[in-house]
Symmetry: C2
Subunit: 346 residues, 2 copies
C-alpha cells in the first residue's frame, strides 16, 4: 500500500488538537509516526492514541527533523515562530491559525473547493477560519454553476469556537443561573448562558469584527473571486459545538430552488437536511461530530428575483478546523505534493 508519513501536531492539547488526534486515529490515514508538540506549559503530559500513551513534547528547533507534515493549531504567534524551522526541516506545515491566511504566497484551502491551489505551496498551507470553511463548502457548488454576486450572512456561533474552556464556561454559567447564582464570565466578556452577543473579536474602523472580515476576505481568496460582495454579522450563541449560518445569496440571474437542491444533494462534503413535513432542518446538535456541512431550508428569496436563502450547520472543530486540515494533508499525499522537489520519489 505504499508510503506512510510522519506527522506532528503542534498544539496537541487544545480543542482542535484533540480532534486532530481523533481523526488521525479513525480515518484511514497513512501514518508512520505521530509526534505531539506543545508549549512548555502543556508539555510533559501524555495523550492516548491508538491505545498508546504518547508524550507531549516541548516544541524545539529540532522537533521537526524527519517530520513530513506539521498540523499546527496553537495560535498565530506559535505558527509564526515555528513555520520556518518546520519548512527548513523538510516538513509541510498546515496551519490552522489566521497568521498566514491572507498571505498571497500561501495557499488557503478547502479541499472541496480549491484543491488546485495546493500545487503552488512553498511548505506552508493555511487552513481557513471555521465559519468560512462551512460557508465555502455549502456555497461553492452553487457558485460554480452560476457565480454568486452577493452574500449577506448572519451566524450563530457556538462556544467551541473559543476553545474547550469556553464550552465549559457555558455549562458552568447555565448551572449557576439555574441555581439562582450570578454567572461569571471569564473566557467571554459577557455571560453566554441563556444569552448571546456579537462575536467578541477586535473591531475594525467600520465596526466589523475580525471574524466577519475573515468570512469576507477568506471566502474571496478561496473562491478566487476578488469582486464577490460579502457582508456578515457574527453572533455567539449558547450552543456548545457546531456553528449555524443564515445565508442570503444574490446571483446574476434567477437560480431555482429545485436546481440548487439538486446540486447540493450531490455536492462533496454537504448533506442536504430538509424534511418540510416535519419542519426538520439542520440543527447544531445534529451537526456535532459530523464530517458534513448540513444544509437546508433552501428557499426563493422573497425580496429579490435572483436571490436564494439557505441555512447551514457544521461542526466548527471538525470540518471547521481539524478535519479540513487532515483533508489538506490527504490531498498533498494523493497529489504527491508533500515535497514538491521529491515528488517523483513516491
Amino acid at each position: 500500500m505504499g508510503q506512510s508519513y510522519r506527522v506532528a501536531i503542534l498544539g496537541a492539547t487544545g480543542a482542535v488538537g484533540t480532534e486532530l488526534l481523533e481523526l488521525l486515529e479513525h480515518r484511514n490515514f497513512p501514518l508512520a509516526d505521530l509526534k505531539l508538540l506543545a508549549s512548555p506549559r502543556s508539555a510533559g503530559n501524555t495523550l492516548l492514541f491508538r491505545g498508546e500513551a504518547l508524550p507531549v513534547e516541548t516544541v524545539e528547533a529540532n522537533s521537526f527533523a524527519g517530520v513530513d507534515i506539521v498540523l499546527a493549531s496553537a495560535g498565530g504567534s506559535v505558527s509564526k515562530a515555528w513555520a520556518e524551522p518546520a519548512i527548513a526541516a523538510g516538513a509541510v506545515m498546515i496551519d490552522n491559525s489566521s497568521a498566514f491566511r491572507l498571505d498571497t504566497s500561501v495557499p488557503l484551502i478547502v479541499p472541496e473547493v480549491n484543491p488546485g491551489a495546493a500545487a503552488h505551496h512553498r511548505g506552508l498551507i493555511a487552513n481557513p477560519n471555521c465559519t468560512t470553511i462551512l460557508m465555502a463548502v455549502a456555497l461553492y457548488p452553487l457558485h460554480q454553476v452560476q457565480p454568486i454576486r452577493r452574500i449577506v450572512a448572519s451566524t450563530y456561533q457556538s462556544a467551541s469556537g473559543a476553545g474547550a474552556r469556553a464550552m465549559e464556561e457555558v455549562k458552568t454559567q447555565s448551572l449557576d443561573i439555574l441555581q439562582g447564582k450570578q454567572p461569571k464570565p471569564q473566557a467571554f466578556p459577557y455571560p453566554l448562558a441563556f444569552n448571546l452577543f456579537p462575536h467578541n473579536s477586535p473591531l475594525n474602523a467600520l465596526g466589523y469584527c475580525e471574524e466577519e472580515m475573515k468570512m469576507v476576505n477568506e471566502t474571496r481568496k478561496i473562491f478566487g473571486a476578488d469582486d464577490l460582495r460579502i457582508t456578515a454579522t457574527c453572533i455567539r450563541v449558547p450552543v456548545l459545538r457546531a456553528h449555524s449560518e443564515s445565508i442570503n445569496l444574490e446571483f446574476e440571474q434567477p437560480f431555482s430552488v429545485e436546481h440548487a437542491r439538486e446540486i447540493l444533494s450531490q455536492a462533496p462534503g454537504v448533506k442536504l437536511v430538509e424534511d418540510w413535513q416535519k419542519n426538520y432542518f439542520p440543527m447544531p446538535i445534529d451537526a456535532s461530530g459530523k464530517d458534513e456541512v448540513l444544509v437546508g431550508r433552501i428557499r426563493q428569496d422573497l425580496s429579490h428575483p435572483n436571490g436564494l436563502e439557505l441555512w447551514l450547520c457544521g461542526d466548527q472543530i471538525r470540518k471547521g478546523a481539524a478535519l479540513n486540515a487532515v483533508q489538506i494533508a490527504e490531498l498533498l499525499i494523493q497529489k504527491n505534493l508533500l515535497k514538491p522537489a521529491l515528488a517523483a520519489n513516491s
Copy 2:
C-alpha cells in the same frame, strides 16, 4: 386627570397576560376597574394586582358589559369568538393574536410608527407579531428619512415567544443535559437547550414559516408600504426572554452610518447601545424587562453602497406584545378614540 377606564384582560393567566397586569400596575394608566377573564380551564384562580387578589373569571356573553377596553391575549380562536360580543357591548378590543392582523378593516398598530391608523378602527385593533414590532420600531425612523427598499432579516428568538411553558422547558432541558440525561422536548418539537432550530410554525408552499411571513406582511401593512421587499429567516435560540435580530437594509441611495445613528439616538422607543471600545452591543439579558428596543452595531454594508447593517434586541413579551397593546390603549385614550361616536363626551 379626569376620566378613568374599565379594562378587561382576556387570557390573564398567560405569559403576556401576566406582563399586562405588571404594566397596568406600574404605568400611570387611568384605570377605573380591572377584570380578569380566561377560559373555564384557567378561571377560578386569583391574581395579585395592586396588593389585591383579583378573581379570574370565565369569559361569558355578559363579561364585557361596561368594559371600555379589552386586552386580548388568549390566542386567535378565543379572539375570534369574543371580538363581536366585546364590540357589541361597547368595548374596543386590542387583540394580541394573529387572527385579524391582515384584515384590511382592522388597524395594525405600533404606536411609534402608525398611530394615525387608530382613527379608523371599528372596535377592533390588532397588536402585531412580536418580532415585527421590534423591527418596526427600529427601522421606521430610518424609513421616514429615506424609504427602505429591501430588508433581509435573520432572527434569534427566545423561548418566551412560545409561552411560559417553553421558558421552563429550556431550563429543565439544560439541567437534564448538564446532568447527563436526555432532554425531553414537549413545548418544542426538538431540544432547544444548547441547540437552536428554525422557527417551528407551519411552512407555506415556498418554505417560509408563519413567523417569517408575519415579518413580511405585517411590516408592509404597518409601514403602509406594500412594495417594501422583505425576506426573513426566523430561528429559535436557547435564550429565555428577549428576541434579537440581524437586519440588512437597502435604501435607494447611500445612508450614512452617522446619520442613521443620529436618527436612532432620538427615535421613540429606541435605545442606541453601542460601545465600540468595549465591544458592547445589545444583548437579550439587557433587553429583558426593558420598554425600549435596543439597537446597535449600525454599520455600512460592505456588500452594497446603499446598505446598512444593524442589530437589535427587544423584550418580546413586553414591547413585543403587552407594552405595545397598553400603548395602543393609551393612544386611544389620548386621542379620544375609545368610542368614536362618543368622543365629544370626554
